[in-house]
Assembly symmetry: C2
C-alpha cells in the first residue's frame, strides 16, 4: 500500500484567520492515484512542532507533503525544520540558486537567495519543490501549492485504484443503522461510510462504499440499494 500524510504549517490556520484550502485538494489528488492519505496534522510555525510531525509521519508513510512556511521571511522555517528533523545541515542548493538568479535578474536580493536554502542532499523538483527523504515541501498559497502538487503527482508511485460508489437515500441514518452494521460486518474488504445530510426539503443519508475489490464492491452496492429500497 502506498500511503501519505500531510502537514499543514501555519499560525494563520490555527488562529482562525485563514481557512485551509490545501488539504482537500491534496486528498482528492492522492485518492485519484490510489494513494492512501492516512493523516493530516496542522501545526504552528514553530520548529519543535514541525520536527515532531515530520519525524512521526515520515517514518510510517510512503510520502509526506508539507504546505506553508517556504517564503523568504523570518516565519518561513519549514525548510530548516525539515532539515533538522532528519539531522541534516541546511545549505545553499546550487541549482535552486541558479534558477532564482536567472528568474529575478538584477532584482535578486538576500531574501530571495534564502529561498535556495534546503537540507543537504535535497532533490529539487519542478516549480521549486524540494524533496528531503520522503518529504515534499510545498507552498501555503493555494494557487502555488496546486501547481506544485500537480507537477509532483505523476512522479509518485501510484497505488492500486480505490473504487467507490455513492448512494443517496431519503431515509434517516438512524433508520438504516442496524442493517448497515450487518452489511459492514460481512464485507471486510469494503468500507461503508454513512453521511447524513439535512438540506431544506431534503433530508437523508449518503452511503459511500469504498474498496479495491470491484466484485465485492458491486455486491455491497446491491445490498445497500436493496436496504434503501426496503426503507423508502
Amino acid at each position: 500500500m502506498i500511503t501519505a500524510a500531510v502537514i499543514v504549517i501555519g499560525d494563520e490556520i490555527l488562529s482562525g484567520r485563514t481557512q485551509d484550502a490545501n488539504l482537500n485538494y491534496i486528498a482528492a489528488g492522492l485518492r485519484s492515484c490510489g494513494i492512501d492519505l492516512q493523516e493530516c496534522r496542522v501545526v504552528s510555525d514553530k520548529e519543535d512542532a514541525i520536527i515532531e510531525a515530520v519525524q512521526a509521519l515520515s517514518k510510517r508513510n510512503t510520502y509526506v507533503f508539507t504546505t506553508g512556511g517556504i517564503g523568504s521571511t523570518h516565519d518561513d522555517i519549514t525548510s530548516a525544520s525539515v532539515a533538522k528533523a532528519f539531522n541534516k545541515d541546511i545549505v545553499v542548493h546550487a541549482d535552486a540558486l541558479k534558477l532564482l538568479e536567472s528568474y529575478y535578474g538584477d532584482n535578486i536580493n538576500n531574501a530571495r537567495r534564502r529561498m535556495a536554502l534546503a537540507a543537504d542532499g535535497a532533490i529539487l523538483h519542478e516549480r521549486m519543490v524540494f524533496q528531503i527523504e520522503n518529504v515534499f515541501i510545498m507552498a501555503g498559497i493555494p494557487r502555488v501549492m496546486r501547481e506544485m502538487f500537480d507537477s509532483l503527482l505523476p512522479k509518485l508511485q501510484h497505488g492500486e485504484p480505490i473504487l467507490s460508489v455513492s448512494l443517496k437515500a431519503h431515509v434517516l441514518e438512524n433508520d438504516l443503522a442496524d442493517e448497515l452494521f450487518e452489511i459492514q460486518k460481512n464485507a471486510s474488504d469494503v468500507v461503508i461510510g454513512s453521511y447524513p445530510f439535512y438540506e431544506e426539503n431534503d433530508k437523508g443519508t449518503c452511503l459511500v462504499a469504498t474498496s479495491r475489490n470491484a466484485i465485492r464492491l458491486a455486491e455491497v452496492e446491491k445490498q445497500l440499494q436493496a436496504l434503501i429500497d426496503s426503507k423508502s
Copy 2:
C-alpha cells in the same frame, strides 16, 4: 496558558470527498477566548488512529475537541475510541438515554439508543456533548458542531486575551524580509506573521502581529508601519 487541540475524525475528509469546515470555526472561537490552539489532527474512522491522537493531545493540552463519528451507525466510533484511550468502559449514560427517549418518543430504536453510550464517568453537557477527562466530543456536521461548540465555549477556562494587529502593505514580501527579521529579533513577546497576497491588480503582503502585551504590540505595530511607509 490555556491550550487546546482539535481532532477531526472522518474518512470523508481524508478521501477528499468533504472539505472540513469545523477547524476554522473552532480556531476562531478559541482565539476569541484567549485559548491557544496548538495543533489539529485529521484522522480516519479507525480506532487506533483516534486513540493515538486522543492520548497524545489530551496529555499536553488543557482541552481537546473532537469532531465527527458520533452518530448511530457502524462507522461512528468516536465515543468508544475515546473511552478506550482512557481505559474506560463504554456504558449507557442514563441522563443521555432519558433525553433521547423523551426526544424520539415512540420512534426510539436501537440505533438511537446507541447515541447514549459514552465512557464510564462521562459528563453530559448541553446539546448532547459528552466530556471524557478533558476531551469534548462534538458532531461532524458543521451546523450541529457549531451549536455544540458555542454552548461549550462560555464554560471553558478562558486565557489572557490575544491581541492582534494586521497591516496591509503593497510591497512584495521579499522586499520586507530583511527588515522583518530585525524587527522580529527584537520583539520576543510579539509574533509577526507575513502573508503574501496576489490578487488581480493588488499584490503585496499582509503583516499580522500578535501578542498578549499591548504595549509591546503597539511598539511593533509602529515599527511595521514605518517599514511599510519606507518601502511604499
